[in-house]
Amino acid sequence: MAASVTSVWGVRVLSKIIHGHLLPAAAVRHQTVRSRFLHTAPVSSSAVSVSEEPDVLYQRLSVRVKGHDKAVLDSYEFFATLAAQELGLNLQKAFEAPKHIDKLTLLKSVHIFKKHRVQYEMRTHYRCIQLSRVTGSSARVYLEYIERNLPEGVAMEVTKTAVEKIPEHIQKPLWDDGKQETPSQ
């Protein structure tokens, strides 16, 4: 399929651009030298597969990233939105959900001193990137690229909303064939 071919080539070109601008030089050098540990599948033009069955269509692809450091999430959002623009996907919105703070109050001392406590908190910041009207193959390529470049300490949740055809048995409402029905007793 033409769309999947262009998207694969787009990813390969994009990786050079993104690695040059956004990742620090040390990481780039390291990835090229120590590739024996990364077990990446070789991306060649023969990996493009053409199949007869129609592609899955997604009405909305929602990527939610969470992390402790807001600056890291800012740069990741810039990276993901740039990747979506380069691949030609429609970016619906990219917003920041309110943070969640987990607080613990513990005793400061091992033994006695009940009045002296220590408070810890764990902050989780969120970012949401929503793409609309994405095909299955584009979604797969985009998600693979995004996931491979997730920074350490950042977790990602993906929600896909697919568009399906209405199944045949409920395509027509029952009351249209009402004359053939007989009430059961």
Binding site: A26, H30, K108, F113, V118, R123, V154
Partner: protein, 167 residues
């Protein structure tokens, strides 16, 4: 005399408030010794102790002036296995401290990307480069067999420990 048990703190505060109005300005510290925070802090001394950037700033500066030493996702909201990561981290730090004896310039930074475990360390140029390479390979092999995941060590060497200030 039958006097009610007055708390030492209240009695002394009454005494000191009477004294403060006069020329005497001595205050008595009478709270329990637990009041001060001592975690990860190097106490100010005579000015002869050299201290790195990591040691100079206190734990409340993490996120503001300091970064995180161990980066993984298990402490986020809705994620688990935090305790296993902590145990692994402690073992890795002790292992690095022991394998590279007296060579560590600063704390070891541990990053986890998916399955990959990246250990970033700053070393003093105490050994020959060939010895460093051997120890890096040895640590990577041993830790990857131990933790059943690929382990990478990213090392940077420095001539001397980088001093931030003297306390």
């Amino acid at each position: 005399m039958a006097t009610s048990l007055v708390r030492q703190t209240k009695l002394l505060s009454i005494v000191t408030s009477q004294f403060n109005s006069a020329a005497c300005f001595r205050n008595i510290h009478c709270t329990a010794a637990c009041l001060k925070n001592r975690a990860a802090r190097i106490r100010v001394g005579k000015g002869d102790k050299s201290v790195t950037y990591e040691q100079a700033y206190h734990p409340h500066d993490i996120g503001h002036r300091k970064g995180w030493l161990s980066q993984h996702t298990s402490n986020l909201q809705g994620e688990d296995e935090a305790a296993e990561r902590v145990v692994e981290d402690v073992f890795i730090r002790r292992f690095m401290y022991g394998t590279f004896h007296n060579c560590l310039a600063d704390e070891v930074v541990i990053k986890r990307r998916g399955n990959l475990l990246v250990i970033c360390a700053m070393m003093i140029q105490k050994l020959l480069p060939s010895k460093f390479y051997f120890l890096i390979g040895y640590s990577e092999e041993l830790l990857s067999h131990f933790y059943k995941c690929p382990v990478k060590i990213e090392m940077q060497t420095v001539e001397e420990k980088v001093v931030y200030k003297y306390l």
